[in-house]
């Protein structure tokens, strides 16, 4: 692989990295909404249950982060197998 091709792969990988990082950071810092007036609705109970939107958000964020990692690894594997990347 020549230098230009390597740089092109690096650019694609870096873009992918930053997209996943940006999604993670946006989701992560959205947790702060719980302490603001615009996030008031999150603090309320879901229907008749004692589970609040805030609690649900915590659990969903943890699961989403793990899924994002899984997708990232699968994408890496797919591009490696298809020969787009070494």
């Amino acid at each position: 692989m020549d230098n230009a091709a390597k740089l092109s792969v690096i650019r694609a990988r870096t873009r992918r990295r930053f997209v996943f990082t940006l999604i993670t950071l946006l989701l992560y810092f959205s947790f702060i909404l719980n302490w603001t007036a615009s996030g008031d609705s999150l603090a309320g109970r879901l229907g008749m249950s004692h589970v609040t939107g805030s609690l649900l958000m915590f659990a969903v964020l943890i699961v989403t982060f793990i899924l994002l990692e899984l997708v990232f690894l699968l994408l890496n594997r797919a591009t490696t197998r298809s020969g787009e990347e070494p």
């Binding site: 230098n3 390597k6 740089l7 792969v9 690096i10 990988r13 870096t14 990295r17 996943f20 990082t21 993670t24 950071l25 992560y28 810092f29 947790f31 702060i32 719980n34 302490w35 603001t36 603090a43 309320g44 109970r45 249950s49 004692h50 589970v51 609040t52 805030s54 609690l55 915590f58 659990a59 964020l61 943890i62 699961v63 982060f65 793990i66 994002l68 990692e69 899984l70 990232f72 690894l73 890496n76 070494p86």
Partner: protein, 522 residues
Amino acid sequence: MDAVAISMFLVFVLATLAISYWASRRTLSSQDFYTAGGQITGLQNGTAIAGDFMSAASFLGITGLMFLGGFDGLVLALGAFAAWPLLLFLLARRVRNLGSCTFVDVVSQRLERTRIRVVAAGGTIVVVVLYLIAQMVGAGKLIQLLFGLPYEVAVVAISVLVLAYVTFGGMLATTWVQIIKAILLLTGVTITAFMVMYLSSFSLENLLATAVVQHPRGERILAPGVLFDSPVQVATILVSMLFGTLGLPHILMRLFTVPDMHEAKKSAFYASLFMGYFYLALVIVGFGAVAFVYGNPAFFTAEGQLIGGSNMAAIHLATAVGGNLLTGFMSAVTFATILAVVAGLTVSGAAAISHDLYAEVLCKGAPDARRELQLTRLTTVVIGVIAVVLGILFQNENVAFIATMPMVVAASVNFPILFLSLYWSGLTTRGAIAGALVGLVSSVSLIVVGPQVWVSVLGFERALFPYDYPALFTLPLAVLVMSVVSWLDNSDRAAVDRRNYHSLLVRSEFGESGRPPPVARH
């Protein structure tokens, strides 16, 4: 002292000492000592990372915070967890491909090696020592409570055991101690959560309803606002925890214990999986502590205080739902937790001194292998002695601020140097050093004038700076200084630093096979 706890503790100690003996026969070089010869698999390393990171502070501290304030305690759990996806996305491949023993190896690839190594190794030592003091003081007090041992005996016992693991077995023994501890901790948390759910008829609704009835703040514990009331305060914690974790030297060092970057990426994923499970289980354990400890007077003093303070809520919960057997198991697990974390810190501190400073700076990268290994073992003993001395010296201090500092310093010094050296071609040695020093001075200063030191330790009425975790301000400041000084840097060395970026970038992505000619040095 409880007989069940003692027997479980003895089994753990004997098993881990046997592992250290086995590992000592395989630790023949300094490379073996620092990175277990790079032969740990992704799954093993991911478990060890989880074992290294899920400290007593995570388990006891977060459960204790949930016991006090319910939902708000989960801020620290999310902060501690979210660093792992970013470790995978941003750092795992590039760091593994570039370094050999420590993250300092990575940053010294394109910058002027002597100066940047001294600064980055200095950052590592500051973080390790502060983390070590917090762990030793916390551990001494905890073991005093759990096993009834005198504080000094507890601190010496921890240090002697850790020295036995690390001095003889190096990273290999440390890895296996961390793996065993992770399995024990996950088992203990699972059993406790299962018992809590069993007593709640396997209904989360019942558990939360009981917790609301028992807690003095009632329904407010299910929503934000009991412990933290300002979004900026929460943001300071989230920034410090996230970027601090990404700059912790003993965690980054674990990326070098696997054979290649594929295994390094798997490690980060497995670590996330285990920790995600752990923090989700803590939701049940935390609200379980509220539901089953608050209503039981056996866990409170005559003055109405929880015996041993809020950090003991998890242990009291084990007693409430599992009797002496589970209490003994969880006490032994807590001890194992402390040993595993202190062992990881000790290896990291030893590597900073004997590899980063002695081998790479003093010997210019060509040390005598036998002398380096001897020095590494000697350094380990010295760190063990320092840990005991500092642990005893700080025993009567409020160490909450010492526990805060390593995360803030790692976020404001180590992380920006590492991230910018990997992702920004314009970074120069002068910029990196200036930013690191500003990050270090500003983070320590703001912690000193913040509530934990200015009010709680020094006794002033009001803090000069309102937040405990200042990385929200010090991290951007460090990055700004690194950027501005690098932009203004017209030195010859700056030109070399910028030129080196391209070869570093290719090597960081393609590993050894894509390795270009060595980068230029002065």
